[in-house]
């Protein structure tokens, strides 16, 4: 996948984390250097004064608006007008922000700031099915460090972090997101095949933990005269949920009739282009249709 090469977004996220790091270092420095601490304190004092003035200005403006609105609603009885305290305004805003923070999981990346840095949560989904989420806890230090995480061991985390973690956190996380979502999609397909279409399988589904190598023997009709085919699906590209290599073979002694050879080839195409469980859903549907046709 191509990355838009710019320093802007990197600056944004990294700058933010650096600011947090500075805050941590500052409080540590203040213990060590009282003279410097005093200078910082007086700077803060000035800032507080400025903010207080701004706040008073805004309060006055809000009060003016109040007076104007009140003047235009003369007929309303004073006791009928509800009052909200300034505290309620803040409370409401807080609830709103909390809800929005929860909603970020739908973008794929959400997280919380921690005392050390940030804990990012990566959500996964496949075709509208919301699947597992994984977390990664980052410590803001130079160099940026992963404190702990719940990423499965077969995802190439070290490789991805060596490439991106120190230079561009955003790319690091989006890249992980890609790998995890693809893995979750492959796993979902394999699970669905095993649970929903066990009747079609003549033998166990063999799979590895990364779910990128699957092999199984299947019949197009669970109880029928169809031949068993062996399928081997390889997903070389770990960022996709569709296979890169598909082989469907016939495990018999006799040669396949042309009709069956055609089927075998079409099956190969199906496995390339559609998710696994959808391929079997279409087998099931075709089977239903065959039941309805007269026996020849």
């Amino acid at each position: 996948m191509e990355w838009a090469n710019d320093g802007k977004s990197k600056g944004g996220v990294l700058a933010h984390l650096e600011r947090l790091e500075i805050q941590v270092n500052r409080s540590r420095k203040n213990l060590e250097d009282p003279q410097r601490a005093q200078a910082v304190e007086s700077a803060l004092g000035t800032k507080i004064h400025k903010l207080r003035c701004l706040r008073d200005e805004l309060r006055a403006e809000v009060k003016q608006r109040q007076a104007r609105v009140k003047a235009s609603t003369v007929n309303v009885e004073p006791d009928q007008t509800l009052e909200i305290s300034e505290q309620e305004v803040v409370e409401r805003r807080k609830e709103n922000v909390k809800a929005i923070l929860q909603a970020y999981r739908f973008t794929g990346l959400s997280g919380k700031l921690t005392s050390r840095g940030v804990c990012v949560c990566i959500s996964t989904a496949f075709e509208g099915n919301l699947l597992d989420s994984y977390f990664i806890d980052l410590v803001i230090q130079k160099p940026l460090r992963i404190h702990h995480h719940s990423i499965p061991v077969f995802i190439p985390l070290e490789e991805i972090s060596a490439k991106y973690l120190q230079t561009n956190i955003q790319h690091f996380l989006f890249c992980l997101c890609e790998y995890l979502n693809a893995y979750a999609g492959r796993k979902y397909q394999a699970d669905r095949l095993q649970s929903d279409f066990a009747a079609f399988l003549a033998g166990p589904l063999r799979r590895n933990s990364l779910c990128n190598l699957l092999s199984f023997t299947y019949k197009v009709e669970p109880q029928g005269q169809s031949f068993p085919f062996c399928a081997r699906l390889l997903y070389k590209d770990l960022t996709t949920a569709l296979p890169t290599d598909v082989t469907v073979t016939y495990q018999g002694m006799d040669a396949l009739s042309p009709a069956w050879e055609e089927q075998r080839a079409s099956h190969e195409n199906l496995f390339f282009s559609k998710p696994l469980h959808q391929v079997f859903t279409s087998f099931a549907r075709k089977g239903e249709k065959l039941d309805m046709s007269p026996v020849s």
Binding site: M1, E2, A4, D6, S9, G12, V13, H16, S27, A37, E41, L44, I48, L51, R52, R55, L58, R59, V62, Q66, R68, V69, K70, S72, T73, V76, P78, Q80, T81, E83, S85, E86, Q87, V90, R93, K94, N96, V97, K98, A99, I100, L101, A103, Y104, F106, T107, G108, L109, G111, K112, L113, V120, A125, E127, G128, N129, L130, F174, C177, N181
Partner: protein
């Protein structure tokens, strides 16, 4: 000093809330704007009324900075979100310990210059062994709609109910569009006489003309495409224009093969260097 910092954060949060209060429109006649006796109280008890809500405001400050972090990280700024739930469990399901809940979500925000409004439904089914969460409906409204590449992508995302892919691809799409705009603007600034942006820097077209060689034109079309899997890729094409005479003299068929050569150039040098070398090659006389 930490107390001072907390006060700064609380003041900032209060200022933000007051600013928002000033922005909210007045509803004529209705008491949407409630009278605030407590405002007076706030003036009087500067320190005492404040002490109790100090924690509240500094907590809000912390949450706001978390929000800022997430919006910077994802490139997506969520401005509003609400959810309603509806319990669909009936007595028959309860006996089998199956719970069904339908959630209706509403989410709106923007990704740079593109604003979106989403409404989606999630069906949660909890049985003894597991919990499944499925997006059963997804509606996406986007504006501005001048990015034609987006409408097809949006319909695909709605069809597949792939919310995560929608956001991920949107983020990369916008990044690429911004990069394209910055690149076009950069070249316009560097070669103001040669480079023309007939549809503006935010469009997909850049024209290179040489003052010394009128009649020759290189039109570069740079599209940002989103494929079936949601991957965002730039696609650049070169359309050279030349006077009839030049075409007749072009025995090596340079002009004919230019589009293909351009693709090769892109692969070798990357986008910026390829564009720069194109501009320089057409306008060598201008800049000698």
């Amino acid at each position: 000093m930490d107390a001072q910092r907390a006060e700064v954060r609380a003041l900032e949060a209060e200022i933000a809330a007051l600013r928002r209060a000033c922005e909210e429109p007045r509803a004529a006649g209705e008491d949407t704007w409630r009278a605030q006796k407590s405002l007076r109280e706030m003036y009087q008890s500067d320190s005492e009324g404040w002490a109790s809500s100090k924690d509240l405001r500094s907590h809000l400050g912390h949450l706001e900075s978390e929000l800022l972090f997430l919006s910077t990280l994802t490139g997506i700024s969520v401005r509003n979100y609400s959810m309603k739930t509806e319990d669909l469990t009936n007595t028959e399901k309860k006996e089998k310990s199956i719970m069904k809940v339908l959630q209706r979500h509403r989410l709106s925000g923007n990704c740079h210059m593109i604003t979106f409004q989403l409404e989606f439904q999630i069906l949660e089914i909890q049985n003894k062994e597991s919990l499944s969460s499925v997006i059963t409906d997804l509606n996406i409204i986007m504006e501005p709609t001048e990015y034609s590449e987006l409408s097809e992508f949006v319909s695909r995302a709605e069809e597949r109910r792939d919310l995560l892919m929608f956001f991920r691809s949107l983020h990369f799409f916008v990044e690429w569009c911004e990069y394209r705009k910055r690149t076009f603007e950069h070249f316009k600034e560097k070669y103001p006489a040669a480079v023309h942006l007939p549809e503006g820097a935010a469009s997909s077209c850049m024209v290179v003309r040489s003052a010394c060689q009128p009649g020759f034109e290189l039109v570069i079309i740079w599209r940002v495409q989103i494929d079936e899997e949601g991957r965002v890729l730039p696609k650049l094409d070169l359309l050279p224009k030349a006077p009839q005479q030049a075409l007749e003299l072009d025995r090596n068929r340079v002009l004919e093969t230019a589009p293909l050569s351009f693709r090769a150039l892109l692969g070798a040098l990357g986008i910026e260097a390829a564009l720069e070398s194109l501009i320089k090659s057409l306008c060598t006389a201008d800049y000698d």
